[in-house]
Symmetry: D3
């Protein structure tokens, strides 16, 4: 007597009912308590699922259908409000379990800090891990107003773990001078303003390597993603971001996990940002989960 | 590995996982295609569930907790877009099944026309059925621009089935002269503008009888329910509506089913209407399901 | 081949196609350039017309139908943007014409200053004119930052014309000490906070006299009228305002003109304010145009 | 005593007062009852007219002025809420009349299904009709959840009438695999993602032929048209769409009718979508009506 | 060359330029990181100041003008994002300084937890302190999902400090059964649903005592305060809250500090909530700071 | 005891506390009373400051930091509501003072007419002044509905002062035929639709000359700036506008003053427009103030 959830907006459209048989697992990380400007991304994962029912299941870009990929939507990880450290630990533990079960983690944020415990867990499993990072912001601060774990530090922290040379940032258009300098001095790749063209140059160098990909929705121009905490003019279009996803799909990298973060629905009454996010997730699932 | 739905906003807070053991069943009727003014109530049921996680489970009004009532949330009934007749038939069939299983139907609308097939099914089961109707509008038209099944006709249609003398409308502040005249001539009860005081007078006369209760959220003043298709000034407060619910709970009537309709979230950016609706549903469950 | 305007939202619902045969004339005064806080009331008249199609034509309060009143909707008076003085002159000329044709002027604002040239024209026609004024604000300043014609001065200016003793303000909850003092010293009636009860006391004293009635929508509490330039807590409900309209209808005063001003749609995404305004206009037409 | 409608937002700016003398006729088709996701396009035509007063009458793109084109704005066709079949019939009858009077039909939607009865009527008049279709979606389903007449089927249905080889779709980025396959197998033209470049290649092949053009506003990226039922990332810019309109104007095709559909104002609080739609209509009138 | 701040919205209207000479000090506490539902109250204090320029300086309720009260607006206390414990410590230190300087603290929230360190500091200064608490929620949890410092615990924590018998809650309509039971067992005063009448009974018993007053804006009905984290139907009107403020002003209690919390502007596009909050602050300053 | 304003949103981020030591001065011109369509830009300057706290102080485009530029934020110039002439005079006087003190004026609008008194004052100081104008609209009317001072006339009026040959407009996509003709006949430069490429051609011809730059935010496409009075499809992206700013910074022109006008926050609930405006101001300060 319960109506089918598959088209209900309660799980991502066409998610598989069975964890065991699935190759990838979607999970929400509804945390936004360390953001310095506008909170609200805690409601991002739920909204992305809700609007996913407006998607077609077929991608005319990739000529592939969601029926061709087995993924499970686990819902949102329950996190303790206002406690960043414990939240990160809970996420880290959960990802360890997923990886033990040989699942590809597919995270929905939440503020960008939630990517850190995921990347740490993934880095423990894959020795040779590289991270591809698309974002408006460097997120390379060592600490933010005295706090190590902040939405401004996750890329720096993962660089400390896997080495700056293994981190590739694209689309960056905001940061402190010190952050850009640190990246330069430590051999970390930063492509300012652009994503697609520099990515195409980097991808061949990562051929065959395990790669974790973290995308902050604000890499898009505010015109394409008004529903996020920090809107910063001069970003890329959703067309360019789709093309970047397809370029990765066509490359030889081994995508071992990915996330999309910082969707904050309350700032976007047309739900354009969440709709775009759900289409991006569809393309990532179809292009990256093999 | 799937996180608990009970506090996720995917089902009404504290709904029971098991249909068989439940006494009442919540279901959404996401239809809005016959409305003449502003559509959008198709998204009402989902939003009411989503915001229900903001509710406490305990009612200080009734000194009762949702743990004390077993109800199952079945999700939204899939309805064919733009086809009113078939939608009504699907709803009617579903309610027949619920009633056969001895469940109390608890409907979430959707436009008011969805109440008609529910009331018809309930009337088949209970010979002596009375209907309590709270609404800004009479909904007593015989047809609307030539169509018999419209959001303006459900109360007339059920009056035709159970007899106008068994229908009690409260809070009415909008309608055609012909509708008020028809009610008067046919012995139907209409309380204009007010709900609580006239209801208190009517309730003793319904003692022991099976009663179906249908509430259009626009019985509330627009100040209390801006998120609905037709906002009409001069309505009651949510306090008066809560008191009416409690008066029914304290009376001797036998509530055999109920619904709350016409919540249209897109017109209410604070989600005040859906939050109020979810609190009303909590009070109805706690007060009416015994 | 042009579809009927009567139900189109382009004119107030059920307005008469013919000026000559009409007793009352609705006109918009789309001016908001002297407001000190939030502009936007220039779009009030158009929105009130647009949403009027959601109204029933029949009033269950007055048992009267719009078919029983002949009124013509003339549209919005074209006014020169940013030029208050010339705008007031244009309005004044227009009202003189209406009065010469023996029409009852029914104005839609626009900021409150637009009422001044209307009242001046009406005062020239009716020697013994009284003004009933419902508002959150005194509007009794002699000038505002040096300017005589401002949204803060219209009631003072008309009091200067017809004498303060002939002005009756209700529902006032905001003003400078000097304004309240001036009113007191000059024998002008001000009822603070309340409308209905003091109005009922005043009405018998105005029996048979010609009365112009000007209502600022912000006499309503912000809960009932969020869509206005200055929202000020502690106002009356739309029920009380409806009752005040009906009390005037039942009294012996001779309503020779009236207006409803300060509806600013952009601050109210549910259009609750404009819907309420259009219902108030319906009740005023049905109750006051005899 | 009625103020001029030409600049009032009640009719499209500079529309001609006289049907007989006009070459083109604008009409609204306020229907949205078969949409599967977000309703609201029933209010599209009225909003497009309302904001048209913000337009200049002159096009610096085409060096032509609205004074140079005689078009009549007939208002919205009254349609029965929730009854798709009868609505389509009413539209079809109306268009037959327009065509009999040798007018060029210029439709404002409403959901995309409203284009079907227009195209059918036009196809009866012009033997050799071709259809140019710009849209995010294929709209090529044979039926949608069992219903033949749905917002997902109009292009398929018109292809069945005039032959798939005479239908040219541009900008498509969403659909079922079956739809793309059907198009391919039946010789229908589909340009995925792009509009301008492929259109420029197609236009010479249509030289001199009668062409009906139907544009779903969602061919634009959500950044350019957030106010529509289904927002789908990766669309074209309004600049590209303007350029496409101008390319058609400069070509040798004979535009015998056109429409713009799916503007749903409630999802766009800046009215950017309706403003863009009204500018597109101006360019189409200036470029296509000769 | 810098323009005057007094009417700029950068400080509360008419705040005094000089700390030393002021009797009361306004400060913002822009923290919202422990809320369980909707964040955003961090922007409350700035918005309350911004809209304060729409206020008159004179209160017709109290016949007193802001010129008669010397208060200083210190701006927002800089707080570390996502770190509740340290934030509370910073607030506590600041209040200790204010109290040492014999200022009356006037706090603007922020989530309700910010009141706790203020009340603790005040309780250290005044042995016989009583707390008056107006709120929709009990806020009496001992901990919330394991965390002692949460938006659900501040009243319990202060009750632990000053003794439950010295805490008086009004308007409560939401909480767990355990919270109500704890209050009852420990002699704490809770008035359910109502504020004004029970307050009038309590005030004489507090005659002459030092009292801290903490008001959660959600004690108001959502109709009167949609812009808050948790909207809960059935609250009081802003008229009743104004009357409660005036009742305290007229009583013999010695108000030694007060705050207004939980204004979250993003959920209220008409800024009705912030406007109401700024008027409430004006009345509190005029009525309570002697 | 007052908290630091530098990061408070009350002044533009990192503005210098001292007027005398500053090279440039930011001031708001909160006037919108002559706009013909949507008012609201009076709140633009305050919102631009408020959201500036979300900016980084460092520009990765220019490799320069706000610490490197001394600018003072003077707040908003108090202007008399609804009185255009006097407002212009007040602005003109203020700019004369700034120029006497050798400051570079940096204006925030407000409607575009506010640029006129600034440009007039600047033209008095610099004989050889050229004006660079980026806008969707020509603003070249000689008068607007009979009024010389209107938002539609400022560029014409300044052209009358400094000679049309010294005015360079870019990005224009809206105007009357007469305006384009006048520009052509009088040797004024107008680049239709495009900004960056034609600007690059013009800049070398202005080498060494004093240049005032006025930017109407609506030169951006509505996708990039929905929050403005007149949204007009087909504009440039914020990337192109940023590149234009950087091209000027890299050129040999001597920027002696500049402004950014027509930000109207109420039409943009994500504050994307104001955020973009504040980033543009940062880039202009860093690139143009040497």
């Amino acid at each position: 007597m319960r109506f089918d959830d598959t088209y209900s907006g309660k799980v991502f459209i066409k998610s598989h009912p069975n964890y065991e048989e699935s190759k990838a697992v979607i999970y929400g990380m509804p945390m936004d308590w360390t953001v310095s400007f506008r909170p609200g991304s805690r409601f991002g994962p739920a909204k992305i699922r809700e609007v996913s029912i407006g998607l077609e299941e077929y991608s005319p870009y990739l000529d592939r259908d969601l029926d061709d990929v087995k993924f499970f939507d686990a819902g949102d990880i329950p996190l303790p409000f206002g406690n960043a450290e414990q939240s990160l630990e809970i996420i880290n533990n959960y990802i360890h379990q997923l990886l033990k079960d040989d699942k590809i983690p597919v995270g929905l944020g939440g503020e960008h800090l939630v990517s850190l415990p995921v990347m740490k867990a993934v880095a423990e499993k894959y020795d040779d891990l590289a991270v591809i990072h698309m974002d408006a912001h460097t997120d390379l601060r060592e600490h933010y107003e005295g706090y190590e774990y902040s939405h401004s530090t996750p890329i720096r922290k993962i660089a400390d773990v896997i080495g700056p040379k293994n981190v590739y940032s694209f689309g960056i258009r905001s940061g402190m001078k010190e952050e850009f300098d640190w990246a330069k001095e430590n051999g970390m790749h930063i492509s300012k303003f652009e994503v697609l063209e520099p990515l195409k140059k980097v991808l061949p160098t990562l051929d065959g390597r395990p790669v974790y990909i973290t995308i902050d929705i604000d890499v898009l121009d505010p015109a394409h993603a008004p529903g996020t905490g920090t809107v910063d003019a001069g970003g890329i279009t959703s067309r360019e971001l789709l093309a970047a996803i397809h370029a990765i799909a066509a490359s030889g990298v081994n995508v071992v996990g990915f996330d999309l973060v910082e969707v904050a629905p309350v700032y976007d009454h047309s739900d354009q940002t969440a709709n775009t996010a759900s289409k991006l997730i569809r393309e990532m699932l179809l292009g990256w989960v093999r």
